[in-house]
């Protein structure tokens, strides 16, 4: 196992650079998990969009009623009445809907020409659509009560309106699996795994490949009693073991960061999620064996690892969910294994029942990934064969006569 041990020694000497990528990945995962604080509940819970009310008018029972009503339906974000603060908050979605009550609004509300509330919102967003429904409903009931009984005071109208608005429809949330579904946090983790896995595996394998493909070393190996078959097998064993170590490390990291999301989850779903990443690990080994032939120095190594993993992840629905892809991008994505990883992940996360019909697409997508892996390995073998027989193989070495 001399070759295998040498591989491990080279790896040990380059551990710092490899760990660097994992070090970048850890804070990314922690931030992601902090950002997705969603908790699973058995009962239905309404979404509560963020909104802000800026009142340039006097406070009346009607406007107070609006504030009370909206505070039940959304989460109010108090902001300073400063244009740059409001612009910032709206741009970065701290608040989705800013309601500005103009001066004179209350006085004109029950006249023939009522003033309108000014709203700042993300153009045509679903949140603002919902908030508009709520605001219009409140004022429609208020004006309806006023038209029916003009003698009623504002406080009485607001009270009656709020009383009507407290009526709620019964909602039943159906859980088809009988277990906790995959949390957004866990899903985000599994979405990002291919990026780090592909990059690290390319770096780990290409580091060894660069060393072993040096012409002098190749000539030394060819003249040694070591059989080429044994050398290749030991290299393959190293690739598999180092990839497995990376996979286990990343999976452990995922389990630790998302430990709270695992309770109540169907273990079969969790097993499928890990199986999907394991298959992607095989794909990554295949991809790296294909591209390693082109990597001759550290510069190209870093560039290939970074650019390839980014291309695979952007076009494969890792950084941006597949549902946001247009038809052209989807068509291009289908030629990239990461696309099928994302498809598998989406199918596992939306799994409702474990039937033959529901499992079949997941298995199909996994087989497609393995198909890609087989293709890449075939291409790698062809390139390798060509390189070994090519004259350029030892091109950089000059004999004493030539020199």
């Amino acid at each position: 196992m001399r070759v295998f041990n040498t591989c491990m020694l080279i790896m040990k000497r380059n551990l710092g650079a490899m760990l660097m990528y994992i070090i970048i990945f850890i804070p990314l995962m922690i931030v992601m998990s902090i950002l997705s604080t969603e908790k699973y509940n058995l009962s239905f819970e309404e979404s509560k969009p963020e909104y802000t009310i800026i009142n340039h008018d006097i406070t009346t029972p009607i406007t107070e009623g609006l504030e009370r009503y909206l505070s039940d339906k959304g989460s109010e974000v108090k902001l300073e009445d400063d244009i740059q603060v409001l612009q910032d908050a709206n741009f970065f979605h701290e608040t989705e809907y800013i309601i500005m009550i103009p001066e004179g609004f209350s006085a004109a509300l029950f006249t023939d020409a009522p003033m309108k509330l000014e709203t700042v919102q993300t153009p045509d967003s679903t949140d603002s659509y919902y908030m508009r429904l709520l605001v219009d409903q409140y004022f429609n009931l208020v004006t309806g009560y006023h038209k029916a009984a003009p003698e009623l005071g504002e406080a009485e109208i607001a009270a009656r309106t709020l009383n009507d608005l407290s009526i709620e429809t019964a909602v039943e949330k159906i859980n088809y699996t009988g277990s906790t579904p995959v949390s957004e946090k866990l899903r985000t983790f599994f979405r990002f795994v291919p990026y780090i896995l592909l990059m690290i595996i390319i770096l780990c394998t290409s580091t060894i490949m660069m060393a072993f493909s040096k012409p002098q070393l190749r000539m030394r190996n060819m003249s040694s009693p070591l059989r080429p078959f044994s050398l290749s097998m030991q290299l393959i064993l190293y690739y598999c073991i180092i990839s497995l170590i990376c996979w286990v490390l990343i999976c452990l990291l995922g389990l630790i960061v998302n430990i709270n999301s695992l309770s109540g989850m169907d273990p079969r779903i969790l097993a499928l999620l890990f199986l999907n990443t394991f298959i992607y690990m095989i794909v990554s080994i295949a991809v790296s064996s294909m591209v390693c032939s082109f990597i001759k120095n550290e510069t190209v190594q870093n560039a290939v690892a970074n650019i390839l993993s980014l291309v695979f992840c952007f076009l494969g629905g890792i950084f941006v969910p597949l549902e946001m892809f247009d038809s052209t991008l989807s068509a291009v994505g289908k030629f990239i294994p990461t696309y099928w990883y994302s498809m598998t992940l989406d199918s596992i996360c939306s799994l409702s029942v474990f039937t033959r019909e529901s499992i079949t697409p997941i298995m199909t997508y996994m087989l497609l990934q393995l198909g890609f892996a087989a293709t890449f390995i075939c291409i790698a073998l062809v390139i390798n064969k060509k390189n070994q027989s090519a004259e350029e193989s030892f091109g950089s070495v000059k004999t004493e006569i030539e020199g």
Binding site: G16, A17, I24, F91, E94, L117, A149, K173, I174, A303
Partner: protein, 379 residues
């Protein structure tokens, strides 16, 4: 002499494939990928008619008012709220399980009841519609009870009217897309650190042969440093300008209307990036590959915190830890571009520029301190 050194350095930079991959090829590939994948980002937040199921049983058929309301809101047009499928309970239940609809409604004991599979805004809007239907019915009943005279005009009392009008606080619309590109521009500025690294390596006798040759040359040290820095700045600035032109005209990413302000931030950002790379290289005796790794890692962390991977993270950091946000030069560059796009005033833009210039001065001073009076006993 100075211009000769400047020209030679510029040629060396252009011929350095390693530099060009990171500072030129990589940003172009990344921005093109951003363009394709983020093109539908804004559309994703936009409201689209919700897929709804209705249990088409006897109770539903008998409730004419509810039936008419559902049909009216499902009619195609600008005000369409639902895309409705009518089927029996088992069929709509299967549709919900297979994610073909977001929820379904069944009339139970004379009142509509909503069935959903998960929480979400679409489901909330469905519930909101049903709530409003029941609330309006309740209001009508209350008015008939207290003011029987109002019965004749009851339909006129609850005409749906709009009480809001959209206003905009800026000339440019809100979009989630541009911030990724601004963070990318910030990242490219800091990949200019590779230029700084290259410059310093070729000034130090113990790091490169060229450095050794230049150290023994008759040229003044400050002239060497100035010529190299100027050449690095020129090439990095040109890369930034070319990238900005590519973003603005090929990828349709708005950089604001003030071209001089865009050029200024490109220049200051490039300067900050080069100073950063030079400082990292000169301040320690680590291997070149380790220095590169540090440069990439720090740049990636700074870019992440300026919104390269998660949109709005820069705003969250600014709210929760403003000191970290102000001390992150990549966030300042991204913020300066954002100011040009979104704000009418230049106050915050110039604050960012001043902070970047101060940081550059500090980094450059550290580099100079390390570079001056270097003597080599053995190399």
């Amino acid at each position: 002499m100075f211009w000769n050194m400047y020209k030679c350095k510029l040629l060396r930079i252009v011929r350095n494939r390693y530099l060009l991959i990171w500072t030129f090829v990589f940003p172009f590939i990344l921005s093109t990928l951003f363009y394709f994948t983020f093109s539908s980002l804004d559309a994703d937040n936009q409201f689209q008619a919700i897929r709804l199921g209705v249990v088409n049983d006897e109770a539903f058929q008998n409730d004419a008012m509810f039936k008419n309301t559902i049909e009216a809101l499902s009619a195609e047009g600008d005000e369409q709220m639902f895309i409705t499928s009518y089927a029996d309970r088992a069929a709509v239940d299967d549709m919900l399980r297979d994610n073909e609809i977001s929820g379904y409604i069944q009339i139970v004991d004379g009142s509509p009841k909503l069935f959903v599979k998960e929480n979400g805004l679409k489901q909330t809007i469905m519930k909101c519609f049903l709530d409003q239907y029941s609330q309006t019915k309740s209001s009508i009943a209350a008015i008939i009870k207290t003011s029987p005279d109002a019965v004749q005009n009851i339909s006129g009392l609850f005409d749906r009217r709009e009480f809001t009008k959209k206003v905009s606080l800026t000339k440019n619309p809100q979009t989630d897309r541009v911030c990724y590109f601004y963070a990318l521009l910030a990242m490219v500025c800091f990949y200019g650190g590779f230029m700084g690294m290259e410059i310093v390596e070729e000034l130090q006798a113990n790091l490169t042969g060229v450095g050794a040759r230049r150290t023994v040359s008759s040229a003044r040290r400050y002239k060497l440093v100035a010529a190299d820095m100027l050449a690095g700045l020129t090439s990095q600035f040109i890369i930034m300008v070319v990238l900005c032109v590519y973003l603005e005209f090929a990828l349709d990413v708005s950089l604001g209307s003030n071209i001089w302000a865009v050029l200024l931030i490109c220049l200051v950002g490039s300067l900050a990036g080069i100073s950063f790379g030079a400082m990292i290289t000169v301040s320690n005796k680590l291997k070149a590959s380790t220095k590169s790794a540090i440069l990439i890692t720090v740049t990636m962390i700074m870019s992440f915190m300026s919104g390269l991977m998660v949109e709005g993270i820069n705003y969250i950091i600014m709210q929760k830890a403003p000191v970290v946000a102000w001390l992150n030069p990549a966030a300042r560059i991204a913020d300066a571009f954002y100011c040009l796009y979104y704000f009418d005033s230049y106050n915050r833009y110039f604050t960012n520029i001043i902070i970047l210039l101060l940081m550059t001065a500090v980094m450059f001073s550290i580099t100079v301190v390390f570079l001056r009076r270097q003597r080599y006993e053995s190399i």
